[in-house]
């Protein structure tokens, strides 16, 4: 299994109508500042040697001034010394919402599975997830949402349900068709009126 390049992952999602947050690899502070163009951004260090980025301090958020961007960039470069080869990626800051996870793995008995649930830092703590065999239809997508203890929270009391259902169906189609052994879209930040996929990890 090999970790897919982040930007390749992003364009694979796009093929299935799934948008992820605007992202770009940056090689210098200046490039990062140009990407930000005055708006708040996030910088992340991506290396196969450290898969749990947030825990390892490889994600710098809310960088809303040039000074902050420069400082974060330097810090990441420092940490990168022991994680080479690595890349630094710049992303738009996502708007506030509920953090969800969409995932996948291959089960030896049942083949490709899709997983949905409460994401971000709650994943391991609450284990509030639902799982189905790929592909799924609209009814099963709805059931995956309904099965969660946190379904009202994740769907913003049902307002985001339709959008999540189609997102899950599109994701299941992608998992089914592409060479994906493991997938973590985590977090997918869900708002009443949309979502942002902020991190993509594909093993294929």
């Amino acid at each position: 299994m090999k970790l897919m390049d982040y930007m390749e992952g992003s364009s694979m999602l796009k093929k299935y109508g799934i948008e992820s947050i605007r992202s770009k690899y940056v090689n210098s502070k200046e490039e990062a500042i140009r990407f930000a163009d005055g708006k708040s951004i996030v910088l992340k260090l991506i290396s196969e040697k450290q898969l749990h980025k947030a825990n390892a301090g490889l994600v710098k958020v809310n960088l809303d001034t040039n000074a902050n961007i420069e400082k974060a960039f330097d810090e990441l470069k420092g940490k990168g010394k022991s994680l080479s080869p690595y890349k630094i990626i710049a992303q738009d800051s996502a708007k506030q919402g509920v953090e969800a996870i969409i995932g996948s793995r291959v089960d030896s008995q049942f083949g490709k599975l899709i997983l949905f649930g409460l994401g971000g830092s709650y994943v391991e703590a609450l284990k509030d997830v639902s799982i189905r065999l790929c592909p799924i239809d609209k009814y099963q997508a709805g059931q995956m949402i309904e099965q969660l203890r946190s379904s009202a929270l994740i769907t913003h009391n049902g307002k985001a349900t339709e959008r999540i259902e189609s997102l899950l169906m599109q994701a299941s189609k992608m998992i089914e068709k592409e060479n994906i052994e493991e997938l973590d879209l985590n977090p997918v930040i869900i708002r009443e009126d949309g979502y942002d996929i902020v991190d993509i990890r594909v093993l294929g």
């Binding site: 793995r105 089960d107 008995q109 997830v129 189905r132 065999l133 099965q147 093993l203």
Partner: protein, 463 residues
């Protein structure tokens, strides 16, 4: 349909050869033969025993090849090493089905011996169940290959529930448990190592079996995951399947490389498959029994609004709690119902749901309440609580409920908790198809699973 799924003659054999029919009481083959004799089986019985001319008063044969008559089912109960040779003879004698009761195959590492067995079954195209299993039972056909002495195990009556168990021990325990329930058994299939006939074949057979209304399964693991899923989702569009999974320990979340890998372990993937295929999942054996019970007798509900009538206030409250906790709604009576109830209930009765008719409620009061509530369009399901310890509750109440039940097209169940006097009335009501639960939670959970299945059927029958 695969020939391995054509099990009609295995379940309803008109001729049975018992290979290893010993003269020694207590030996497996001897117990099986005597169970056939004691159980009133009226087909042909052929004991096969190399060292005897007669067993239990029947002529014995040295080999199935000496029988020279058609054999629907051969039950093999001899040491594992001799099984392949016996099966070879069955093949030559054109035996139609085989049940291998004997253990000592893959479950103890003897995979070669098991492969040998399967090769012979394939060569002669004989559906072969087991090895390492209790075999099959069909109370209508009075056929039973289990080697359990009849006095130790109560047998369920005839009914519509078919029970499939990978484990013989769980199988016989559940059979014993359901013997005291009102619903009866259609088929029992204990399939052990699933060397030849597996879960896919069994579901394929039972989904087409007219006598089977509900399928109940104990599964530890299936051999062909996707195939099982495909056949199972076809089966649940015809009839409900209640399942319990053995081996629910979480797969060791050893340094998982992704969140999904640690969250979607082996049990979770089974759970996902069961849900997706429209199964009802039981958490323990008693739940397995009470879910089987609801599916065996009740029509599918149109919605989740539940009415409760009771002769005990506290139990009514507990039931209301259980209804909400299981995702159902406490119904609001229609104005018409309220008007009718106000007319016929004594003034101490509050006209609301749950309807607490007080401890002195007798068959007249139950009848009046039922008459108003049973036709209320705002109600999808009905729970009647009858605490038989109260002065008003007696057999005439049970009789009243039975007569309303027979005219009811919505799910209607009873909660009665108690000992001998209650148990007597439970048997009375259940024998007519009115299910009785001993706890509010069991009742509400059963109705919730019934509704979930109804919704699943609705979602997929439109397509």
């Amino acid at each position: 349909m695969d020939y391995k799924a054509n099990l009609h003659k295995m379940l309803k054999p008109r001729s049975v050869a018992i290979i290893g029919a010993s003269r020694n009481p207590g030996k497996v083959g001897n117990v099986i033969l005597n169970n056939y004799l004691d159980g009133g089986y009226d087909g042909k019985l052929y004991p096969v025993n190399r060292n005897a001319d007669m067993v239990s008063g029947l002529k014995a044969y040295k080999s199935v090849l000496d029988i020279h008559s058609s054999i629907d089912l051969a039950v093999i109960a001899i040491p594992a090493e001799f099984v392949p040779a016996a099966m070879e003879e069955c093949g030559k004698a054109k035996v139609k089905n085989i049940v291998v009761v004997s253990g000592g195959f893959a479950e103890v590492g003897a995979t070669e011996l098991q492969d040998k067995m399967v090769n012979i079954a394939n060569k002669y195209k004989i559906p072969t169940l087991g090895p390492n299993c209790l075999g099959v039972m069909d109370p209508r056909a009075r056929s039973d290959t289990m080697f359990l002495p009849t006095y130790k195990l109560s047998k369920p009556k005839i009914g519509g529930v078919s029970f499939v168990s990978q484990s013989g021990a769980v199988g016989s325990t559940v059979l014993d448990m359901i013997a005291k329930e009102g619903f009866g058994l259609s088929k029992f299939i204990s399939y052990g190592n699933a060397a030849h006939i597996d879960e896919v074949d069994i579901i394929d057979y039972l989904m087409h079996d007219e006598e089977t209304k509900v399928i109940v399964m104990y599964i530890e693991g299936v051999k062909h995951g996707r195939e099982f899923f495909e056949i199972a989702r076809k089966a649940t569009l015809k009839k409900p399947i209640v399942v319990i999974k053995g081996g629910q320990t979480a797969a060791g979340a050893q340094a998982a490389s992704s969140h999904t890998a640690s969250l979607a372990g082996s049990y979770e993937s089974y759970d996902a498959m069961f849900r997706q295929a429209g199964f009802s999942i039981a958490k323990d054996l008693s739940e397995l029994v009470y879910l089987a019970k609801i599916f065996a007798s009740e029509p599918l509900p149109n919605g989740k609004r539940v009415a409760v009538i009771t002769n005990g206030g506290g139990t009514g409250v507990l039931t209301t709690d259980a209804i909400s906790a299981n995702g159902l709604d406490v119904a609001e009576y229609s104005e018409q119902t309220k008007k009718e109830l106000r007319k016929c209930m004594p003034s101490i009765v509050n006209i609301r749901n749950p309807l607490d008719m007080a401890g002195d409620a007798d068959s007249k009061r139950y009848s009046d309440a039922m008459s108003a509530i049973s036709k209320d369009p705002n109600i999808d399901m009905l729970i009647v609580i009858t605490l038989f310890q109260t002065p008003g509750a007696d057999s005439s109440v049970a009789a009243k409920l039975i007569s309303y039940k027979s005219a009811m097209d919505k799910p209607m169940i009873v909660i009665s908790t108690g000992s001998d006097y209650t148990e007597m009335h439970k048997i009375m009501m259940e024998s007519t198809g009115l299910p009785v639960y001993d706890s509010p939670n069991a009742a509400a959970r059963s109705l919730a699973e019934l509704l979930k299945y109804a919704q699943y059927r609705n979602a997929y029958s439109k397509k």
